[in-house]
Amino acid sequence: MASRETPLHGTHDDLGAKFTDFGGWQMPVEFESIRVEHEAVREEAGIFDVSHMGQIEVSGPDATTLMQRLTTNDVTALDPGESQYSAITREDGVIIDDTIVYRYPDGEAAGATGEETSFLFIPNAGHDEQMYDRWVDYRDEAGLEATVENTTETWGMIAVQGPDAPGLVTDAVTELEGSAPADTVSAFSRNEAGFGTIAGARCFIAKTGYTGEPGFEVMCPTDDAVDVWEAFDCEPCGLGARDTLRIEKGFLLSGEDFHPEEEPRTPFEAGIGFAVKLDTEFVGRDALEAQNEEGIDERFTGVKLLDRGVPRGGYELRADGEPVGHLTSGTMSPTLSEPIALGYLSTDCEEGDRISVVVRGDEKRAKVVTPPFV
């Protein structure tokens, strides 16, 4: 199957990007260099094309019930214009995907018919069709009245991240609508969102991101994506920097740090138990309640290599020569210039413990570090 292209593909090409296939999308992996892009986001600001992320809108009288049944967090805690991190789990509690759920200002979704509660959620790249089907199938089986629309091809999505990002976005917004949570986007609290105008386009502007820096994610109509991108004067960044930034903060990457077949993990194992509300009814709740009572054998944590080398996903972890887990992501941290990694480790090991990472057959000294690394 041919790769999908974002509306910004030509812009990236003009900027000299190197591309890679990611989740079925042709995406820029780097422009100038991962290190330069990474440092720009930590010290100033960088701009990412994240249009490969899925977008699913859910509206109608039973929209809240449908979202509550298929995500692990409590959507009823959201006021209009707020968002929350959440997971989508199977009956056995294994994570299928992680996501941000936005509650739209009332009546905003494409399929909305009035002032009802409606949602937008963001599945990971390449998961939009699977999630659309999951929502529609569950809705139909449960006899719920809700409209589900896959708007992935309708929206472009741009992330502006870094200490300078709030100022850049504030300057770019020419008009903020009355339904927004504050008069200016710089006054938004973390995870708040509202509609406003950038480069003449009506955009959904959210104070979210996945770099650990202050920043915004802007969803804009596909046809306006190039104009919105050009409204920001900062370092263009690719997926390479996005990966090193999120590893430094200990954020999960779908498909690497969890995968329903290759790395089946529950939210408790993956360290996102905070996004599980066991007092709500959702697919996987009973399995997760049982695991919450029994405890877990392995947990997601960080490892810092003390010897020379680069830790990578798939490398084995040992303590006293015995296997105690494995890595799922790793890199040479551009901020620290130290080799860092994330993975699953026996709960018998604690922060600060000395362990080893098997790098191409050699045991290299390492220690257990609770993320974030920076």
Partner: protein, 126 residues
Amino acid sequence: MSFEIPDDLRYRETHEWTTTGDTVRFGISDFAQDELGDIVFVELPDVGDTVEQTGEFGVVESIKAVSDIYAPVSGEVTAVNDAVFDKPELVNEDPYGDGWLIEIEVSDEGEFDDLLDADEYEAQIE
């Protein structure tokens, strides 16, 4: 984008270069360092080890990828560029100069016939 491909070197399809003569240096090409991006770690054999033509003789890791590197010709290692252990970015900055990797005493000069010249290598990466 055009890459530097010195005329006086020989190349492997896998993007390593070698000088020619009795004692030669190996490195990776300008194209290879650009493809890999920011190089952060280099693993090389010790002086006295032998390397075999087409065999792996080390590893170059960038932030995004791990790459095995292959010997253009066979021989015994006579020197290793220790500078790239502390400053792996030398391979990015000067792949044919300060970013060289190892030096070997060639055991079979006939093996140079198996390598690409600059024009042939340029045609391969176009």
